[in-house]
Each structure stands twice: as C-alpha cells, then as structure tokens.
C-alpha cells in the first residue's frame, strides 16, 4: 500500500489504489493524492457522533469478497443533520459506497451509466428515470454539503463544497445515486443492505452508541432529557415551549414557540411495545391541514426503537395508526393523475385509492427530532387507502431547491392496544367518525356469514336433489263430468251459460249441493305430504272444491278448500288476467291407511261454469314454498351484513376529498 507523509505533521498517510484524498488521523489535515507528495487541502472538522455502529478499519465480506472500511465522509443534509458515507476498499481494488442514514444502509458501486442521465434541473420526485432496462423512481434530489471525513476517500472532496445528487430506487430493493458533481454525472447502483450481510469484524465496536442524556432546559430549567442525542437535531421544551438546535447534546436557543393545545396522550419518555418492538416516545408533533377553510388537527408521536430507528404513531380523532417507512420503488402509480396526485397506487399487490391530498403544517413541536423541524414547516401529504392500511406520500421541499418524497405505511391500531402498550392511565378516548384505514368490522361478519351461506346453500341443494330423486306418487286421479253426475244439469233441462265477470246472476242464490265420494285411496307413507290439484277450464269464472280426506277407520280427516279461478279482459291499461285454471292445495302427511275423498264442488249461480273438472291426489310432492323460505333465511341476513359493510364504507368515503358522491 503506497505510503506518504502528512504535509502538516508528517504522520504517515495511506493511499491505496483509488484513494483520492486521505485524512491524517493525528492532525485532521486532509490531503489530495498527486503524482508526487500529497497536496494539502485543509483541515476537516471533527466528525459528528451519528451513533453509527461502524468504525474505520473494520473488515468484512460481501458475496465472498473481503473488504476494509477505509474511509468515511459526513455530508450535511439541507433539512439538517448529517449522514455517513463509508468507503469499502475491496481486495480486488473496487470501491463500494455505503451510505448510512436513520438506521438504513445502502451499498452502491460506481458503474457506467447504461443510458443518458437527465439534467439535474429536470428532476421531479416521484418521477422516473429510464437507465438501461430499469425504470428508476426519483425519491430525492438535493445537495449534500461536505462536513467532515476520516481515513481514505475515493473521490476528491472540497471543504464546505455542496454536491448535487439524486437518489433513485427500483423494485427489488435496488438503489442508485446520480452524482451531479461531475460532468457527465456519475452513476452508482446497488441496493439496501442489512448490517449482518456485511459480516463485519475487527476494529471498533458493533454495540449501539445510543446514550441518553438528562439535561435541563437552558431557559426554564425543566428536565429535557435527550434519548437519541447522536441523532437529535432539534428539541422543544415541553414546559416552556423553547425551541433549540441540538448537536451532539449541545443546545442553542432558537426561539420561543407559541404552542397549540398539544392534546398529547403519550407522555415524552413513555416506553411501550408495539409491532413486537420496544419503543420510547421521544417527540410529538401537532400537525394540521386546512380544508374548505376548516382546520383539522392530528398528533404524531415520534418513537425510537432499540436500534436507533424511528417510527411514528399517529392519532387523529381518537383513531391510532402505527407508521413505518416503505421504499418508493414498491409503489406503482395507477389511474388518472390530478394536480400531481395519482388517483390510485399499487403496493404489495393491492390497489390503494386516494383518500385525501393536502398541505400538512406543523403547528406544535414537543420533544426531540432527527431533523430541524419548526412550526410552520409544511409538506404535501397524500393518503391512499386499502382496507385497514393506508399509505402516505409526503413531498417536502428542501432549502436550496431540492425535493424529497417519502412513503409510509400506516396500520390501524385499536386505541385500547395503544393504552395497553404504553401503560397509559384511564381509558382511551372514543374514536370519532371513521378513520381512512379503520378496519370495517362488518366485512369480517359478512365474510363469515358468506362461508355459512355457502354451506347452507349446499345443504339446500342436497335436500332438493334428495326430494327430486325420491319422486312423487300418484294416489288418485278422477275426471268429474258434472253434467253426467248431476242429471238436473243436462243441457235439455238447463242451458250451459258462462257468466260474465261482475254480472249478477239472479239464479246464483239457488242452492247447489252436489257431493261426490271417491273410491278408497291407499296412503302408504305417513311421512310424505299430499297435494290435491284441481284442473278446470274456467273462463272469467271460478269453481271451487270443499273437500275432505277421511280415514273411516281412525276418524282422521284433512279438510281443505281449492278453487280454479281465471279472469281476463282488457281495460285502458291493456289486456289483463288473474288466477289460473289449475290450482293445488298441499295437505300435511296423514297416517298410512285407506282414505276416501269427499268432494263438494262450489260455483256461483245455478249452472256450473264448466262441464267437467279433474282432480289429482299425489304424495311426496316437492313444495317450492319451503325451499323459497329456506333460501330467504339463507340469503337475507348475509345481504343485510353486506349492506351494513357497504354503508360503513360509504360513511368512511364521505370524509374523503375524492368521494364519488361529492367533493372533488
């Protein structure tokens, strides 16, 4: 490894192949590689303790290739704070760029750009860049400012220089950076990586460096503990409302905030466990948006996990959601786009509909935060909903012209679960209205009923097939010619006349008392119903039967009435008809035995409206009424359950800016 001396103090400097700049570990001088002796660039500031678990000199392996953590730079973000870029010197001479921010690691390698890189000025967050066969989504474009460095750096840094860059992501965890500090821009491609995948060992310690500090507020003296001092950029005293810049645990007063009513349910410092993670509440934001002149508030709790990662718990009108970031590349925009807002997005195979899109403004700040938050800070926030999950897109403009888009996934948490997780006193306030991602309780019921309904329909079908297969049996059939059986009605004696509907028959009051008895009928089963069918060719008339099925031996008698009644005509509305010439009456099963039918025909007037009628008695007849009733019992309540679920959805979407029944 080529050795040189520090131009300032003479201490040895290492310049391995590819190293462009080296920082003297003794005097912090930074020197550039030249053909001869190193050229002094200047002196770097001390590194900010970012809580990184990595350290210079660590060795590791990736995909079977060994590497050493040879150097690090710290770059300032426009929103405050710095992020680390570690440089991995591989044994084969390649260099890897390992960016570390907020608990995430992104490893990239410089590659030949597989296409033309768009100019920096044309970039738009959420937009796409086609490079080679990959469609990259722009998650951020901004400028990073060089702050500090150590070890060997594979690029030529300049003191306090700012470097335009764009971060891209693609499906499958792919990550890329466009470095616009050179012309043409450089292309670095790689992916997000887990710390374990680097198989690090050697110098340094992997233990987390988080160490809480218990400091008093410099303004009012109230306790103002810092639970993530290595990442905290801004602190607001919950007691006096003073806002401080914080760097490595040192406060510098900015201003006194006029705070809104915090309506804070989880106190700062409260510890709990959500989604299987131990979490500490370190900050609280009161945010608001204005829709149709009305201001709507909600609260956001910043939670710190044991690995230094951040999560959010959002409370709005008593509804709670646990929020975690998701990669931009997993979001696919679909549907029409109105004012830069797609009406739907795809994520993890589901379609999320846009619920609202508005400017969200920070109204109150309490506790500590990992960026330089302040009152009045605003982002453009859009929410998309699918069942009990909502996705949020937040687009934030950076000072200096950059833009950043972040996507997060909010899962609904029942209020009582939050109370239990953080051991809060009292009872959770009752949620008001319906939250965008509140689970629809009626769908669960409807789905369960759907399963039961399918089983019941199956059973109904089985019964139908069973009864159809069993068949019906004809027990009795008779043709009754009234003129033959009633001599008084012979045509010679009385002319057959068909009465007109509604016309009074003066002879109608004359009594007719024909009664016929059938031959013995054998009923073999006492468990099958009976159906008696009357067929009579009535025309604008009726004929009825008062009947009885009598068991002479036991006295069991089934009494019934059945009538054929058929009327038709036409009026101003056109032709009409009612009734029919065939009618059936169903009788309950009677005990097996021998029966006789007693038939007493009835009609209006002296003369019967028909010459003859037919009677049939059958057993084991499929009676559709009972299948219809069972079908109603099977379908009615599930339909009501679905209606209830749909009504719940309707009420939910009434709150949306994109409801189909109103709004935009």
């Amino acid at each position: 490894m080529p050795q040189a001396s520090c131009p300032t103090c003479g201490a040895p400097l290492s310049f391995r192949p590819g190293t462009m700049v080296a920082v003297c570990e003794h005097c912090k001088s930074i020197s550039a590689r030249t053909d001869r002796d190193p050229r002094l660039i200047g002196q770097v500031a001390d590194l900010v303790d970012t809580g990184s678990t990595l350290a210079l000199g660590m060795e590791g392996r990736l995909d079977g290739r060994g590497f050493t953590l040879a150097g690090r730079t710290q770059l300032g973000h426009p929103l405050g704070g710095v992020w680390d870029e570690w440089y991995l010197a591989f044994a084969d001479g390649r260099w890897g760029w390992l960016a570390q921010a907020q608990g995430h690691l992104f490893l990239t390698f410089r590659e030949q750009a597989p296409g033309s890189i768009p100019p920096f000025e044309s970039l738009q967050v959420g937009g796409t860049v086609h490079l080679g066969g990959t469609v990259w989504m722009i998650s951020e474009f901004s400028r990073g400012t060089f702050k500090a460095a150590e070890g060997e750096i594979p690029w030529l840094v300049e003191q306090e220089a700012s470097y335009p860059y764009a971060d891209l992501s693609a499906p499958g965890g792919a990550f890329a950076t466009l470095d616009y500090s050179e012309d043409p821009p450089l292309f670095f491609a790689g992916r997000e990586i887990a710390l374990e995948d680097l198989k690090l060992h050697g110098a340094g310690a992997l233990a987390a460096k988080l160490k809480a500090q218990n400091l008093p507020c410099p303004r009012c003296g109230a306790p103002m503990p810092l639970r993530a001092p290595d990442q905290t950029q801004r602190v607001a005293c919950a007691a006096c409302g003073s806002l401080f810049d914080a760097e490595e645990g040192r406060f510098s007063f900015l201003k006194s905030l006029k705070q809104v009513d915090p309506r804070m349910f989880i106190p700062l410092g409260a510890e709990g466990r959500l989604a299987g993670m131990p979490l500490t509440c370190i900050g609280f934001l009161r945010r608001a948006c204005t829709i149709d002149g009305l201001k709507y508030f909600w609260g956001e709790y910043l939670l710190l996990d044991s690995h230094g990662g951040f999560h959010w718990l959002v409370e709005s009108d008593g509804h709670w959601s646990f929020v975690q970031p998701i990669p931009l590349a997993q979001i696919q925009r679909t549907g029409a786009v109105l004012a830069r807002v797609p009406q739907a997005v795809q994520y993890a195979g589901n379609t999320y509909r846009c619920f609202q899109s508005t400017e969200a403004v920070v109204e109150g700040v309490y506790g500590e935060f990992y960026w330089k938050v302040e009152q009045g800070e605003h982002v453009h926030a859009s929410d998309y909903v699918h069942e009990n999950i909502s996705l949020s897109e937040e687009i934030q403009r950076h000072p200096g012209g950059g833009e950043e888009v972040t996507w997060s996934c909010a899962t609904y948490v029942p209020p009582e679960e939050v109370w239990l997780a953080f051991k809060l006193k009292g009872e959770a306030p009752s949620p008001q209205g319906i939250a965008p991602n509140q689970p629809n309780p009626h769908w669960k019921t409807a789905r369960q009923m759907g399963l039961w309904m399918a089983l019941a329909l199956g059973l109904l079908l089985i019964l139908f097939v069973y009864q159809s297969a069993a068949g019906e049996r004809l027990l009795f059939q008779e043709h009754y010619d009234l003129f033959e059986r009633m001599p008084a009605l012979q045509p010679a004696a009385v002319p057959l006349a068909v009465p007109q509907p509604g016309s009074p028959d003066t002879k109608a009051e004359e009594a007719q008392e024909p009664v016929f008895f059938s031959n013995p009928i054998q009923v073999e089963s006492g468990h099958r119903n009976l159906a008696l069918t009357l067929r009579a060719p009535v025309n604008n008339a009726w004929i009825g039967i008062d009947g009885a099925l009598v068991n002479e031996a036991t006295g069991t008698t089934e009494l019934f009435e059945v009538a054929s009644s058929y009327y038709h005509g036409s009026d101003s509305d056109g032709p009409w008809s009612e009734g029919g010439q065939t009618e059936t009456v169903f009788l309950s099963a009677v005990p097996a035995g021998t029966y006789v039918l007693r038939i007493a025909p009835q009609w209006d007037g002296k003369v019967p409206p028909v010459r003859a009628f037919d009677l049939e008695l059958r057993s084991g007849v499929l009676h559709g009424l009972y299948y219809g009733l069972a079908l109603v019992a099977i379908l009615l309540i599930p339909i009501l359950a679905v209606v209830r679920a749909l009504a719940f959805e309707s009420r939910r979407w009434q709150e949306s800016m994109f409801t189909t029944s109103g709004g935009d």
């Binding site: 024909p514 006295g555 299948y627």
Partner: protein, 59 residues
C-alpha cells in the same frame, strides 16, 4: 348478527326439513279434524256428520 343468522338458518331448515322428511304443511286452506268415535261406529255416519258440520257443499 351471527347469532341472528344461526337462528334464521335453524328456522329455515326446520321448516324445510319437517316438510321434506315429515310431510308437514303449515300454509294453505286446510285443517285437520277428528270424527268422533260415536259417529265412526255408524256406517256412513261421517258423511252426514260432515254435511252437518261445515261442509255442506253449495251455498
């Protein structure tokens, strides 16, 4: 609601089951009657009995 649904299913299938397997009918213009034994002992007596107890035939 689930309990209500179970009750509705039980009721619907009770009706249907008693019809399919027991031959029971619950609707329609029909009723059951018993002819008194004293009437039954008289050959053909039930015909007169019915004639005098509501099934006269005609108007």
């Amino acid at each position: 609601m689930r309990i209500l649904y179970l009750i509705a299913l039980a009721g619907g299938f009770a009706f249907l089951g008693s019809n399919v397997f027991g031959g029971r009918e619950y609707f329609g213009n029909r009723r059951r009657a018993e002819i008194p034994p004293s009437v039954r002992q008289t050959p053909g007596g039930w015909r007169t009995f019915m004639h005098n107890h509501g099934f006269r035939g005609g108007k």
